[in-house]
């Protein structure tokens, strides 16, 4: 019996608030052989998590498993009683959730939670279970395996917490482990550490797993077999290599295409255009939160001495991991957060720090679009009202003319006109993000600050939004300040790229310069962390970066030394951790903030 899991004709039905029932998983059958990892992949709403949860005999509230069979080992899961299911969960089948932060109880130590399932199922005495946990921590490459258990969840980083969640799932030596998008919420640089430790544990223990994800590139590193789902049914099921190289279903091919967004950026503008006044110019920007101290700096400095310049009609990409200050930059430029120092100039005019002191025309010209389309639209207003307000506010358009302009805006973002009567709750994620964009366009701005506009969307939808942004730019002669943690997205749409780390600009240059060697050590880490769409990419990767610990970088933002020193693989102790790094101009055309000279970086193999 080589198959551990056998799912046959699984059907799940969801019941909406109004009592209407819809089938969300129809007739799914697949098997998971022992010692292999099968990936369930698809966009949100494809039923991938529902299927994974049903392997534990569990259906989320409002959902019901209505038919089929799930056999794990020699047990038929669906015919077990609730008590018997409880015995299996955490012992025979365990689950790693997407958000480790939500999976841990903040009031108890990590160790007591990791060994909890072993205690509940009375698998081992506490001391034995703890020894096993330490062993797992070591296998998962966690720093300080003996000591980490006595810490509390908020005292470790997000990537470490996700690995601890894996330890929690593995402590009972389950037959089957369900990974539910375990790296989706992590930064690319952290994701790679987590993936690497997952992979080594899976290989070492010969774990059987089901890996749920929307990211083909991640799945390609971990899974042996991929099942592509769409709207609750299987589109394609094949070995990983075959899916990547020889996909049969058109849907799989569209997923593969969306994973590598087409390059939309125009060629660099002609030389005479460079003479024009920059659209946006930021110099020596210092910003942060909390009361300002005696030195004039805010309590927590988020941005330190950031400068940028944006030519009319070009796009600037800002990338960096979470907490690096990229969203703060957008908020300062939009006037939502007054800067503590430095200037922001728009077409040569210095902008006041807060919205209240800016002129209506200045406000109109800079619009901001947020990441979470769900919270960016007022749920009590219809789409028509949401789009109509900036028209009335900036252009004093009312009545029939307003309705006409709203319809034109919807047309611009490729939405049907009847959507104007709907409320945000009735729209899909991609539609919301389009409305969000349309609201910014209603002001007829010169510059749109896009704060992670595609990060919360599925790959296919995100690719469509990027296409739309590129088209709008051509049509309306817009400029974007495009903020993202995803280098491939930024490369697809931006002419210039700027890399932020711990509130400092560590590299800036044109898109083509970002592809050339050498790079700033942090840019290099970012570039090499983006999963590539081929099997074996993870294994082929050398261990370049030091253990990710975002906290250290943030603490160092204010001090004199290089902000990246704690994680830098090529640091020179005695220089990098003492002196402020100079700005160096590299021959490929970009500026970096680093002590190392160009030839040193090349010699050390950064970017190689």
């Amino acid at each position: 019996m080589s198959e551990l899991v056998e799912v046959k004709n699984l059907r799940v039905i969801a019941r909406s608030d109004s009592g209407r029932e819809t089938s969300i998983v129809h007739d799914i059958s697949f098997t998971v052989p022992r010692g292999t990892v099968v990936a369930l992949i698809g966009e949100s709403g494809s039923g991938k998590t529902t299927i994974a949860l049903s392997l534990m005999g569990y259906a989320r509230s409002g959902c019901r498993i209505t038919g089929g069979s799930i056999r794990i080992g020699d047990r038929e899961i669906l015919s077990l009683s609730e008590a018997e299911k409880a015995k299996i969960r955490g012992r025979n089948v365990s689950y790693i959730a997407q958000s480790a932060a939500a999976a841990f109880n903040p009031a108890r130590t990590i160790m007591s939670q990791v060994v909890e399932s072993a205690m509940i199922h009375r698998l081992a005495p506490r001391a034995e279970a703890e020894a096993k946990a330490v062993e797992l921590f070591r296998a998962l490459a966690l720093p300080d395996p003996e000591g980490v258990g006595s810490r509390y969840p908020h005292q470790v980083s997000g990537g470490q917490l996700q690995r601890l969640a894996a330890a929690m799932a593995l402590i009972s030596e389950p037959e089957l482990v369900i990974f539910d998008e375990p790296t989706t919420a992590l930064d690319v640089t952290t994701q790679i550490e987590v993936l690497r430790s997952f992979k080594s544990v899976i290989r070492e223990r010969n774990t059987t797993g089901v890996y749920v994800s929307h990211d083909l590139a991640v799945v390609a590193q971990i899974a042996d077999h991929i099942i592509v789902l769409r709207e609750g049914s299987i589109q394609e099921s094949a070995a990983t290599g075959q899916i990547l190289t020889d996909a049969q279903s058109p849907y799989t091919r569209s997923l593969l295409a969306a994973a590598n967004p087409a390059v939309h950026a125009q060629a660099a503008p002609p030389a005479e255009k460079q003479q024009e006044l920059p659209l946006l110019e930021v110099e020596g920007l210092v910003a942060g939160y909390g009361r300002s101290g005696p030195n004039g700096l805010p309590n927590v400095t988020v941005l330190n001495d950031v400068a940028l310049s944006l030519q009319p009609g070009t796009n600037l990409g800002v990338i960096g991991e979470s907490g690096c200050g990229k969203s703060t930059l957008a908020r300062v430029i939009a006037g939502l957060l007054p800067a503590a120092g430095g200037t922001v100039k728009f077409r040569g005019e210095t902008l006041a720090g807060s919205v209240a002191q800016r002129s209506k025309d200045q406000l109109r010209n800079i619009q901001i679009v947020f990441q979470m389309a769900d919270t960016a639209l007022n749920p009590t207003r219809s789409v028509g009202q949401i789009l109509g307000r900036p028209l009335t506010f900036y252009h004093d358009v009312k009545g029939a003319e307003r309705t006409r302009r709203v319809r034109r805006l919807l047309d611009l973002v490729q939405l049907p006109a009847n959507i104007a009567d709907r409320y945000p709750g009735e729209l899909s994620g991609g539609q919301k993000q389009r409305v969000n964009l349309a609201r910014a366009l209603a002001a007829e701005p010169a510059l749109i600050l896009c704060d992670e506009v595609t990060s919360a969307l599925d790959t296919v939808v995100a690719a469509a939004i990027l296409d739309l942004l590129a088209e709008l730019r051509k049509e309306l002669k817009l400029s974007y300040l495009f903020i993202s943690h995803d280098l491939s997205t930024v490369r697809a749409i931006c002419d210039d790229v700027m890399v932020l780390y711990a509130g400092r600009k560590v590299e800036s240059g044109s898109r083509s310069a970002m592809r050339a060697m050498p790079l700033h050590p942090y840019s290099d880490l970012l570039v090499s962390s983006i999963p590539e769409l081929r099997t074996g990419w993870l294994d082929g990767l050398g261990k370049k970066a030091a253990e990710a610990d975002a906290g250290v970088g943030a603490l160092l933002a204010r001090s004199e030394c290089c902000p990246f020193v704690a994680r830098c693989p090529v640091r020179k102790l005695g220089v990098c951790d003492v002196l402020a790094p100079p700005i160096r101009h590299l021959s490929k055309g970009s500026d970096i903030l680093c002590h190392l000279e160009e030839r040193e970086l090349l010699a050390m193999g950064v970017g190689a």
């Binding site: 909406s16 608030d17 109004s18 009592g19 209407r20 908020r331 939009a334 006037g335 939502l336 919205v355 800016r358 209506k360 406000l363 619009q367 901001i368 947020f370 990441q371 979470m372 769900d374 919270t375 960016a376 639209l377 007022n378 749920p379 009590t380 207003r381 307000r389 900036p390 506010f393 900036y394 049907p416 006109a417 009847n418 009567d421 709907r422 945000p424 709750g425 009735e426 609201r439 002001a443």
Partner: protein, 288 residues
């Protein structure tokens, strides 16, 4: 063209469909009960068979009879007349006080949450101090000092209950204020009052209404307590709470004089709460 005619009715159906503007049966029933008591309160003087203070019978605590539909009280007064005329005080004073308390509390709460800074600190700490004083004690002191009259009662009750409303409204508004759509409105350059009125208030109306229901019940109970102590509605007039208290000795005989006003209070307070719980979904849960 055909596409248009197809899609518009579809949208309408979505808006009127299940779970949006339909009102549940329980909600409708409760709404009728509330409406009934409001009407009684308004037209009471023309409806009551006897004057409120008139002793109509030598028998006390009688059972319902043809002359006295709800029996008589501890002095032999007609219970039905007293309940009908008491509705004015219970319904009128309590609704007025709850309305004033919620309006002041919600307005101040939203302003504090959005303005923040020293204004928020001063208002919040001042109101925390008010919350620390026991309601009944504070009410007693104010009414004993000024003297009892309807405006004083309404004012005192509203003053006692607006701090709780402020707390809830501020907590809600602080959360909503951080949401992106409010930030977008601010970045657009919208004024303070537009932001509060159009972006924040509609998104907290559900919890605020639920809070109104609870506050209304508390006010009915406090008003009864004050009346019992002789500081509420002055005899021979009486609100329902006072009717219960003054007839409490009839409990041993199972007299309707004590049961009927209790039922009246229960029917009103439970109806208010159930009606708010059963408000159309579209009004209640607007946040994602």
């Amino acid at each position: 063209m055909t596409k248009h005619t197809d899609t518009i009715p579809e949208t309408r159906r979505r808006m009127l469909g299940a779970g949006s503007l339909t009102i549940s049966v329980v909600g409708a029933m409760c709404f009728c009960i509330i409406l009934f008591w409001v009407v009684i309160a308004l037209i009471g003087p023309w409806l009551a068979p006897y004057p409120i203070g008139k002793i109509v019978s030598m028998d006390v605590f009688t059972s319902p009879s043809r002359d006295y539909l709800l029996g008589t009280d501890y002095l032999g007064r007609d219970m039905m007349s007293r309940i009908i005329l008491g509705a004015r005080y219970t319904v009128g004073v309590s609704i007025a006080a709850a309305f004033i308390a919620c309006t002041i509390g919600v307005a101040l709460g939203m302003i504090s949450a959005v303005l923040g800074g020293w204004f928020d600190t001063i208002v919040s700490r001042g109101i925390d101090a008010l919350i620390a004083i026991p309601h009944l004690m504070f009410g007693l002191v104010i009414i004993a000092a000024i003297g009892s009259s309807l405006p004083v009662l309404v004012g005192t009750l509203a003053f006692l209950y607006f701090p709780g409303s402020f707390r809830i409204a501020r907590a809600l508004a602080v959360n909503i204020n951080e949401l992106d759509f409010v930030q977008v409105a601010k970045a657009r350059g919208e004024g303070f009052f537009y932001t509060v009125r159009e972006e924040i208030l509609p998104n907290m109306i559900g919890p605020v209404l639920a809070d109104f229901g609870l506050r209304f019940v508390f006010i009915v109970l406090l008003l009864s307590g004050l009346s019992f102590l002789g500081l509420g509605v002055q005899p021979p007039n009486a609100d329902w709470g006072a009717l219960v208290r003054e007839n409490v000795s009839g409990l041993a005989y199972g007299a309707p004089a004590v049961i009927m006003p209790s039922l009246a209070i229960a029917s009103l307070t439970i109806s208010v709460n159930l009606a708010i719980d059963n408000l159309p979904r579209r009004l209640r849960d607007r946040l994602p």
